[in-house]
Amino acid sequence: MSGHRMKTVNRLALAPSVLLLVIGMIVPLATTLWLSFRLYNLMNPALDGFAGWSNYAFFLTDPAFLPAIVNTLLMVGGVLAITVVGGILFGLLFDQPMWGRGFTRLLVIAPFFVMPTVSALVWKNMFMHPAYGIFAWISMKLGLPQVEWLSNYPLLSIVIIVSWQWLPFATLIFLTALQSLDNEQQEAARMDGAGPIDRFIYLILPHLGRAIAVVILMETIFILAIFAEIFVTTSGGPGYASTNLPYLIYVQALMQFDVGAASAGAIIAVILANIVAVFAIRLAGKNLTA
């Protein structure tokens, strides 16, 4: 086949995927950017025209905006702290020889495959319900007062639910990384009298560096975008106590019909995600050349 024909075949092979992503992602994103500078409210079609920065001003001065940013970051920070530390501990645990190890691993990773609406509702009803939930039963057994989890600690409740979903992901990644650890090196360190803590700090932790980076980046991207868990548990409340950026934009667009302001919010969310994505893409790029 001639080089010229090869080139054509190549382009034909690549074009549909690229085209779909351009139409499905880039065009909408550009439209969002355009809409964010327009006056556009679905409830008030007469309103039309260039809005300048007013949508941004509106969104940024919305009393829900600051709580939403803070909540978004607290969710990311909380879930990351729990899943990275927990994931490393779980990874180390399930890397040890034990009876029925394969089976226990299956049990541990299972929560990752549960759809977000199911896990959120199961936790909300059967665990965190203030009167009939398992947590209420545990508090009663311990003689503690009953806790209204979702109204008194909405953010913590969501962090618990999301951590339960993502801890298996972190565990799975760390387990995979631990399995490629050099056993001879470990053995040599042990012979030289290095205790388990020394081996963890000087051998295992550096080896896990890349896996930790991957877990942090991938989880950040997904946790910045948490939506379903809030949608079915607290609806962002009470007040704005558990509203994050995606949920605020959703409410603005599809419940208050303010397309312009929602678009401005979406652009802010994209910028926030991009700060993380830059690092993620660089990491993947390193892997690509290797």
Binding site: L12, P28, V114, M115, W137, A225, V232, P246
Partner: protein
């Protein structure tokens, strides 16, 4: 005594491991158990661990009241549809970039990855407005298309890393023997990378089945898959925990099995090949 220590250590680790595993799995186990209880037993306090009388009534009720299986079918159509169409698009793209790289290849791969990093809310408003105006809201083709687009970058990337592991000499040999491009793809590349292709499909089925941003915002009744249907249980019209549990058990069972089968390959897909 010397040989006893490792055994004791292993026993201790086993106890700890099983305890942790049971705690992590408990919410799922509890959901499954609750699905076989009566509604009264489901909200009993203190909680009843095992149903006194195992009943399948909830499973029948869930379907009778809400056409459960039409939502189940929607989930099947969306996840299989987006996966099959996605593979048809992604296989040629990954083939082209893995075996005929140009100076653009790297940039295209990076760009595809970056679209996956973009938060979905960034595209929500225009897609909602367009779908509304062309009548694609709450339709299966509409939601399948969006889920497909959202997951295409992962499919291309994952296939790319698998194809990269196949020596290009083999494809060249087939070409010299007179294989057409399509023949080369279908008879040489795909059979050789079958495990990779299969795990890419499985990962995409899992992601599509559990997708809960687009399905919640773009479907309502007709095209609602299980994610959206289950969400309707969040409205507090009484406590139907046994029915919620039955609906949930059926919704997670197929994907849990697929997930367990493909756990090793998932790591690779979810980390864009950075951890193998």
């Amino acid at each position: 005594m010397r040989s006893l220590r490792p055994i004791l250590f292993k026993a201790a680790i086993t106890c700890l491991g099983w305890t942790v595993a049971m705690l992590m799995f408990f919410p799922i186990l509890w959901t499954v158990l609750t699905s076989f209880k009566t509604e009264v037993e489901a909200i009993a306090f203190p909680p009843v661990f095992l149903p006194a009388q195992w009943t399948l009534e909830n499973y029948f009720e869930v379907h009778a009241r809400s056409e459960y299986f039409s939502h189940f079918l929607n989930s099947v159509v969306i996840s299989l549809g987006s996966t099959v169409i996605g593979m048809v698009l992604a296989i040629p793209a990954a083939w082209s970039m893995a075996f005929q790289p140009t100076s653009w290849t790297r940039h295209i791969l990076m760009w595809m990855l970056s679209t996956k990093m973009m938060p979905a809310v960034g595209a929500l408003v225009p897609i909602f407005l367009i779908f509304k105006s062309v009548g694609l809201l709450d339709t299966l083709p509409g939601i399948t298309l969006v889920v497909l687009t959202a997951n295409l970058p992962i499919m291309v990337w994952m296939l790319y890393t698998y194809f990269k592991e196949i020596p290009s000499d083999i494809l060249e040999a087939a070409r010299i023997d007179g294989a057409t491009t399509v023949g080369e793809l279908v008879y040489v590349l795909l059979p050789m990378s079958l495990p990779g292709v299969a795990s890419t499909m499985l990962l995409n089925i899992i992601l599509a089945w559990n997708e809960a941003f687009w399905t919640l915002s773009l479907t309502a009744v007709k095209a609602a898959p299980l994610t959206a249907f289950i969400a309707s249980y969040s409205s507090p019209q009484g406590l139907f925990w046994a029915k919620l549990s039955a609906a949930s058990t059926l919704a997670i069972a197929p994907i849990l099995i697929i997930g367990w089968i493909s756990q090793k390959q998932l790591v690779r897909g979810l980390t864009f090949g950075a951890v193998k």
